[in-house]
């Protein structure tokens, strides 16, 4: 593994607007500390997450993807998270079959009050990703924000 001491995994969080995003927000207002390795995108519902978004994140060089929605039964749209679960189960299994470490895709349910759980999940995933090492699946292309930081735009 090509881990130098400076290497920090980067992960993309796709968080549902109603529960998990609010949970992450609460972690912030509650002054809880979670690893800064995560970049968060707010989605209307975990049911909105097309596997395309997950694979694109890996293509861009993110080391892992965290998908988080409301607990079963708590979906704002009643059934979005159940549908998401089906899709994610297939996505993870298929990627594993092709040779992607399944730990790179993590799914979890975090409610708006579970800031503690959010911190836990992110820390745990970062720990896992440090074990797995950098994502070089798609040639380890630089992420857009890393490129931007270099050019200063």
């Amino acid at each position: 593994m090509t881990q130098d001491s400076e290497w920090e995994p980067r992960l993309l969080g796709l968080l549902c607007k109603w529960c998990s995003y609010a949970g992450a927000d609460l972690a912030g207002t509650g002054r809880k500390k979670y690893p800064a390795n995560i970049r968060i995108i707010k989605v209307p519902c975990s049911g909105r997450i097309d596997p395309l978004l997950i694979v694109k994140a890996l293509r861009l060089g993110f080391d892992g993807v965290l998908v988080s929605g409301c607990h079963p039964g708590d979906c704002h749209y009643q059934t979005g998270n159940y549908r998401a679960r089906r899709r994610l189960a297939i996505t993870r299994k298929f990627l594993e079959g092709m040779g992607v470490d399944p730990r790179r895709l993590r799914a979890t349910w975090v409610s708006a009050s579970e800031s503690g759980k959010f911190v836990e999940v992110v820390s745990d995933l970062v720990k896992d990703l440090k074990e797995i090492g950098p994502n070089e699946l798609f040639g380890g292309k630089k992420q857009p924000d890393a490129e931007k930081a270099k050019t200063g735009s």
Binding site: P51, L52, V55, K56, R59, P72, G73, T79, Y82, R83, R85, R86, R87, L88, A89, I90, T91, R92, K93, F94, L95, E96, G97, M98, G99, V100, D101, R106, A107, T108, W109, V121, L137, F138, G139, K141
Partner: protein
């Protein structure tokens, strides 16, 4: 029922009669079937409104195309020739509301498996044009080249997906043109590539696919030939945001095929059209078969079996796949 040429020609005769009668009585606006192709040992799709053209319809062990691909783009009532695998794709399209059952007249062909001419070519070391005759009697395939004659078994020359076929006789039809057939039941012999891949480590598997997709030209033939890929606007054609670079390069080619497989999950019937059409011979069935097995294992779902079933990704159970979520 074992295969015989006589039974086959009977079936063909019945098909021509039925097709002609359907057009004459105005029960359908057009017929979609197969006619002899311009190459030897090949057929080509025939879409016709002409009664006389029904005399060109054929049924033989080379009717490879999955004709259900034409359905979402064909207007009016359609009479369609369907083997077992095609009937599953048709059922899948009905489940997705892409075609209406009442607009279809399905001429069901009890299939005994199709011959992969490229396998025959490899076995006898001759090109398609140089092979004079490929005929089947029972479970023996006889290939004639000039005066020479060679015999092969089914597992040597049949398409891999025919060997693993679960439904040779259509489940959904209006007329069945012959007696029902039973599966060849040689799935173990057909899973070759997938078994090989499963024995590899994850890194080796990924390296294998990277290598395969290096020669992909992203011609999109696999997408265009797929009955489950009917989106009017495919994600690869989108420009805002642009998901893939237009230039074919290995990482994007690979990503394209991953997403394509995920998008057709639960609708892909493993008919093998993508692998057959691939101009650079990427073993795509190792992916579709894997997806087919995953869907079956996780949700006990087999695509295209019953018109009443809800499509996989629009349905859910409250307690399933719970180990996914931590």
């Amino acid at each position: 029922m074992s295969y015989s040429a006589a039974k086959n020609s009977q079936m063909q005769k019945k098909l021509r009669q039925e097709a002609k009668a359907l057009l004459e009585q105005g029960k359908v606006d057009c017929i979609i079937g197969y006619e002899p192709g311009s190459l030897k040992h090949a057929t080509t799709p025939l879409i016709t409104k002409d009664k006389a053209a029904t005399e060109r319809l054929v049924i033989n062990p080379f009717i490879v195309n999955n004709l259900s691909n034409f359905l979402p783009y064909t207007k009016g009532r359609i009479g369609i020739v369907a083997k077992g695998c095609d009937s599953r794709s048709i059922v899948s399209l009905i489940q997705d509301n892409k075609v209406k059952r009442e607009d279809l007249f399905i001429l069901g062909v009890p299939c005994s498996g199709l011959i992969d001419v490229s396998k025959v070519e490899a076995l006898v070391g001759k090109y398609r044009d140089e092979i004079d005759d490929i005929s089947r009697q029972g479970d023996i395939i006889t290939v004639k080249v000039g005066a020479a004659k060679k015999e092969f078994s089914l597992s040597q020359v049949m398409f891999d997906n025919c060997l693993a076929c679960e439904l040779p006789t259509p489940a959904e039809y209006d007329v069945l043109l012959g007696e029902p057939t039973s599966p060849i039941g040689a799935a173990a012999e057909s899973a070759g590539k997938l078994d090989e891949l499963k024995a590899m480590t994850a890194a080796q598997r990924w390296a294998f696919w990277q290598n395969e997709f290096r020669r992909c030209t992203r011609c999109y033939a696999c997408r265009n030939v797929c009955p489950a890929c009917y989106c009017k606007r495919c994600f690869v054609d989108e420009t805002e945001p642009q998901w893939l670079a237009p230039m074919p390069q290995e990482p994007d080619n690979l990503m394209f095929q991953i997403i394509r497989n995920l998008h057709v999950s639960g609708r892909c019937t493993d008919c093998g059209e993508c692998e057959r059409t691939c101009p650079v011979n990427i073993p795509l069935r190792a992916l579709t078969r894997d997806m087919y097995d995953i869907v079956d294992e996780l949700f006990e779902f087999k695509s295209g079996m019953d018109t009443k079933t809800q499509p996989l990704l629009t349905a859910y159970e409250v307690d399933e796949a719970e180990d996914l979520v931590k």
